[in-house]
């Protein structure tokens, strides 16, 4: 266990239901994610990969074990503290983009800062916009953007608050191959150039191959955990 991990889980367990119908989605997972690391989590349906991500992100409460994000243990936090933690330390990228249709691209990107009532750092914002390549789309609403563009907005939104970790849940699930490649490259750059920590759940091997590390879950346990040779990808 490394105290320097951005996210660390110890003997994480999550059980759904009770009695005979109980299902152990996570059956004791201990894993750490280092700062500046791009991890891909894979596994067949029902392997617990989504549950792991939800528990790591403080969206779901584990039934056993603990999660620490940047030195903060999630188990002791109430809803308000968890909310604040997500706001300050966690970024999300969803399969279905989940942008607010009523806001422009720029407003969507700045949403986490607006929620927190923080003033955006203009230099950082400019850098972000250039990184995701949306300079000329900032005043557009999500409905006026392509899927790839929407997901790039979502990536920028996740990066906006410079979180300790970004969770990406099937970020390319709704995209064609070209857009997928763009978004994955973007995530890669955010790790390489902006020193972000990214944890991505996917069932797409091509997507996973861009990561530094591949974690494969099966039946609620870590089945495989290895570093990827990026040159080969």
């Amino acid at each position: 266990m490394t105290f320097n991990d951005a996210v660390h889980a110890t003997d994480l367990r999550r059980r759904y239901g009770e009695g005979e119908a109980a299902v152990d989605a996570l059956a004791g997972v201990t894993i750490g994610f280092a700062r500046g690391e791009y991890s891909a989590i894979m596994g067949p349906s029902g392997s617990g990969k989504s549950t792991l991500m939800h528990c790591l992100a403080g969206l779901d409460r584990p039934t056993g074990g603990k999660v620490v994000i940047e030195g903060t243990a999630l188990s002791g936090l109430d809803d308000a503290d968890l909310t604040k933690l997500r706001r300050d330390k966690v970024g999300f990228i969803f399969q279905s983009f989940n942008l607010l249709p009523v806001l422009t691209a720029e407003e969507n990107i700045l949403l986490p800062l607006s929620i927190a009532g923080r003033r955006p750092d203009r230099a950082w914002f400019d850098q972000l916009v250039d990184t995701v390549g949306l300079r000329d789309r900032l005043t557009h609403r999500p409905s006026e953007l392509s899927g790839g563009q929407q997901q790039r907005v979502a990536v920028a939104r996740a990066l906006a608050s410079r979180p300790a970790v970004i969770f990406a849940d099937e970020p390319t699930g709704n995209l064609d191959s070209k857009a997928s490649a763009e978004v994955l490259a973007l995530l890669r750059r955010s790790v390489d150039e902006l020193d972000q920590t990214v944890i991505m759940v996917t069932h797409d091997h091509d997507a996973a191959s861009i990561a530094d590390r591949l974690v494969v879950l099966a039946d609620g346990r870590v089945d495989e955990d290895r570093r990827l040779d990026r040159e080969a990808a």
């Binding site: 969206l59 308000a80 909310t83 997500r86 706001r87 989940n98 607010l100 009523v102 806001l103 929620i115």
Partner: protein, 845 residues
């Protein structure tokens, strides 16, 4: 398919419950109104039927022209009773006197005097028995009275106590010797009933030797109807002869007629609530149809016809309507006593014994509630049929716009214009209440149809002060579906429009009275009137006032009615003292001068400007007038006045003529010309004199008088507000419903917001802002619309002296209340939105 509808309802319990409430509240008011008025009618029927027992034929004095105040001016000479006694078939007759006065408890405090009258009845011998005495006995001498049991109990008066009665003369101390029931009941619609001997009743009425009615018992074997006809043959036109039963029916009918206004008014408010409910039902169904598009499309791909899809929506409407109606009907039963309490609070203590639930009440309540729901659900049901089957397969499909879409704006304009026309025709063309209602309905529909266009600018304006991201999101969410917001806001708009209109109009009425009275009454003048504010006072009060040192003149004013030959309808007749009126009142002469008054005599009249114009009268014109007591008088027009205080009638005559030819023996008010150098001292001695002899009356300055009038306007206003609040409550349920449904649609958005760090408090704030924006849009449109209607209606009334006054403070209060109502409506939806399970919300599709 019906089972599917039932399942659908079960799956959306909250929405169904909220929609049911929207139907139920209006239905409850309908049912409550019917139950209340039926119960009151039934109670009075029972009283009159019981009171008529023992009377075969009833002879009642009858005015040729009816007074507005319901008093009968005509009397029957006592000698006529003797004539009736000689009619073959008559076994027994009893003369009676019914009059009105005032009753004071042992401490001198007035009993009653808040809306319900004090009735004075003379005793009657057996077998005439409208009255019975559970305690004590009937009065036998002039200083004895019996009181209606309920009134005595309420004011803690016992047999043996000394109370006092004021009729046509000064206060008279009398001893209570019995507690009475009238028509078998101890209460008579809140009226105080005082029973006295016949001679005392005649003295109190100021008509010695005169009767107001005669009861007759037929000899054994004589048919009442036969006897009635026999008596009719010897009767003058000034009496009505009926059998005992007919008379009871007539009394019941008169009460029914009086109460029918109450019923109509309450039903109008019920209609408003239902109309508001219809908006909410329409909106709810529209939103659900949009949300369930995939489901309808799926049904279609599985082979359901358009008609089946429509049937499914309508079946749901039917269920909601039926359940809402039943709930409303049951609530109405509970509401009836509450309504009664409401009227009691403003002084009208209506009798009721148990709840009378007629079949009609049940049928009408259920039918109206169900039909309104079905009609409101019809358009959404038709829209549901337009869902193409392919929508089942496509994600994010939207309902195709209907062909009628582009006609919506012109239709709204046409509806509004037609409504305005109908409103105008109904109000000023004399076309009646139905047209007014229809006009208002169309105006509201028209504005509602147009209001989606107003939503974006109004949201921008109203929502501007709402701070931060949540304010911004609330604004955006509000305009996201302008039609939905518009209908929701329109529901509130209806209530607010009526509130605004009524308060603007009432403010105008108060300002008009205030200005008219203050400018017309001379500064030194005092007004003497009944402490209850509306029934007449004995004419002796004026004489007594004139004797108080420092009172330079006492000028009496009375009112009655007459029928002018060649003119349709009755003319209001005012009677003044020609010698003194000008000392207290600045007469707004159009033609003539204060000297004209002296020429009034017994054959002259002053005509109001309006009446003169309408009937082409000029000084010198002659009018022939039929009086209540069936006399014909010819009057010559001496002058014309343009009076805004309504002191003058259509025709104004001398007080002496009103007494002699019209049979009006009492004054409505007395105006005193007080020595201004010692006004305070004089008023004090006036008040002492009144307290001592005529506690029925009190003095008021012009200011106090107008304040009193304003108070009455305010009381009526309060009643209207209470009744309108039901419509407003219904519209709040609409806001709740719309928010709940829109939150349901935005589940995933809310989940995302929560996931990326939005706190529950922030979510609640956003929803609250949305509710406040929506309610303020409704209030803003409503206030403007109310203002426009009030100004439009006030315009033609200006010639009658109506002054428009805009109660800015009150309208601001309405806006603030609307905002608070929005906050209130947001509580439940906001809580639901904040409690969303983030994971489920994100997984939600």
């Amino acid at each position: 398919m019906l089972r599917l509808s039932l399942r659908g309802l079960g799956a959306r319990k909250l929405r169904a419950a909220l929609t049911i409430v929207a139907v139920a509240l209006g239905v409850a008011l309908i049912a409550g109104t019917y139950v209340l008025t039926d119960t009151i009618n039934k109670s009075f029927d029972d009283i009159f039927q019981t009171a008529a027992q023992g009377t075969d034929v009833s002879i009642q004095a009858r005015d040729a022209v009816e007074n507005d105040d319901g008093n009968v001016n005509t009397t029957i000479p006592a000698s006529f009773a003797e004539r009736v006694e000689r009619v073959p078939g008559v076994a027994k007759v009893s003369g009676e006197v019914d009059t009105q006065g005032a009753l004071f408890d042992p401490k001198g405090k007035r009993i009653g005097g808040h809306g319900a009258p004090t009735l004075i009845f003379s005793t009657q011998p057996a077998p005439f028995s409208p009255l019975s005495y559970p305690q004590g006995r009937a009065p036998k001498t002039d200083d004895e009275v019996a009181l209606l049991e309920s009134i005595a109990d309420k004011h803690d008066v016992k047999v043996g106590d000394t109370v006092s009665v004021v009729g046509s003369g000064p206060r008279q101390p009398v001893r209570v010797v019995g507690l009475a029931k009238f028509g078998g009941v101890t209460a008579f619609g809140g009226a105080a009933v005082v029973v006295v001997t016949l001679p005392e009743a005649q003295r109190l009425a100021g008509t010695p030797g005169q009767l107001t009615g005669i009861s007759v018992v037929a000899a054994p074997g004589v048919e009442p109807a036969r006897l009635r006809d026999a008596i009719r043959r010897v009767s003058p036109q000034t009496v009505a002869v009926r059998t005992g039963k007919e008379n009871a029916d007539k009394n019941s009918r008169d009460i029914r007629d009086q109460l029918s206004f109450l019923r109509t008014a309450l039903l109008a408010f019920a209609a408003i609530s239902l109309f508001v409910g219809a908006f909410i039902i329409f909106n709810t169904f529209s939103i659900t149809v949009a949300q369930r598009m995939r489901e309808f499309a799926l049904l279609r791909t599985l082979g359901a016809s358009r008609r089946q899809v429509m049937g499914q929506v309508l079946a749901e409407g039917f269920l909601i309507g039926a359940i809402g109606s039943v709930v409303g009907l049951l609530a109405g039963l509970a509401l009836a006593p509450a309504l009664r309490a409401l009227f009691k609070a403003i002084g009208a203590d209506l009798p009721s014994s148990g709840n009378v639930v007629e079949t009609r009440t049940i049928v009408v309540s259920l039918l109206i509630g169900t039909v309104v729901t079905l009609v409101s659900g019809l358009l959404p049901a038709i829209r549901a049929t337009h869902v193409p089957p392919v929508a089942a397969l496509r994600e994010g499909a939207v309902l195709p716009p209907t062909r009628a879409h582009r006609f919506v704006t012109p239709a709204g304009v046409v509806m509004g214009a037609l409504g305005a026309l109908a409103l105008g025709a109904g109000l000023f063309g004399g076309a009646g209440v139905t047209l007014v209602g229809l006009g208002a309905l169309l105006v509201f529909l028209g504005v509602a149809v147009l209001s989606p266009k107003l939503v974006p600018p109004l949201t921008a304006a109203i929502g501007r002060p709402l701070p931060g991201l949540m304010g911004r999101l609330a604004r955006e969410n509000t305009v996201r579906q302008p039609g939905r917001t518009a209908v929701t806001a329109s529901a509130l708009m209806i209530g607010v429009t009526l509130v605004a209109f009524v308060s603007i109009f009432a403010a105008g009425a108060k300002a008009t009275i205030d200005d008219a009275v203050t400018s017309a009454l001379r500064p030194s003048a005092l007004i003497v009137q009944n402490t209850d504010g509306f029934t007449p006072i004995p004419s002796a009060v004026g004489d007594a006032m004139a004797r108080v040192p420092g009172v330079r003149h006492a000028s009496e004013v009375r009112y009655t009615t007459g029928r002018v030959r060649g003119v349709k309808g009755d003319a209001s007749i005012a009677a003044v003292d020609p010698a003194t009126l000008a000392t207290v009142f600045e007469i707004p002469w159009e033609q003539g001068s204060d000297a004209t008054l002296r020429t009034l005599g017994d054959g002259g009249t002053i005509v109001s400007k309006k009446y003169a114009k309408k009937n082409d009268l000029k000084p010198g014109s002659r009018v022939r007038v039929l009086t209540p007591t069936r006399e014909h008088v010819t009057l010559t027009v001496r002058g014309i006045v343009d009076d805004r205080t309504e002191l003058f009638g259509d025709l104004t005559v001398s007080a002496r003529l009103a007494h002699d030819a019209f049979g009006q023996r009492q004054d409505a008010l007395v105006l005193l010309d007080v020595d201004p150098s010692r006004a305070a001292a004089v008023r004090k001695s006036i008040d002492t004199a009144l307290d001592h002899h005529y506690p029925i009356a009190e003095t008021l300055t012009a200011k106090e008088f107008t304040d009193r009038q304003a108070g009455q306007v305010d009381q009526l206003l309060a009643l209207i507000y209470v009744l309108l609040s039901l419509a407003v409550i219904v519209s709040l349920f609409g806001i709740v419903n719309t928010l709940v449904l829109s939150i349901y649609e935005r589940t995933r958005e809310l989940g995302m917001l929560r996931a990326i760090g939005t706190s529950r408090r922030q979510v609640r704030r956003m929803i609250r802002y949305e509710a406040v924006i929506t309610s303020l849009i409704g209030a803003a449109i409503g206030i403007v619309l109310g203002l426009v209607i009030a100004v439009a209606i006030a315009q033609p009334l200006k010639s009658d002296g109506f002054q428009l006054a805009i109660p800015v403070g009150q309208l601001v209060v309405v806006m603030v209340l609307a905002a608070l109502a929005g906050v209130l409506a947001a509580i439940l939806p906001a809580r639901r939105a904040a409690r969303l399970d983030v994971l489920q919300a994100l997984a939600y599709e």
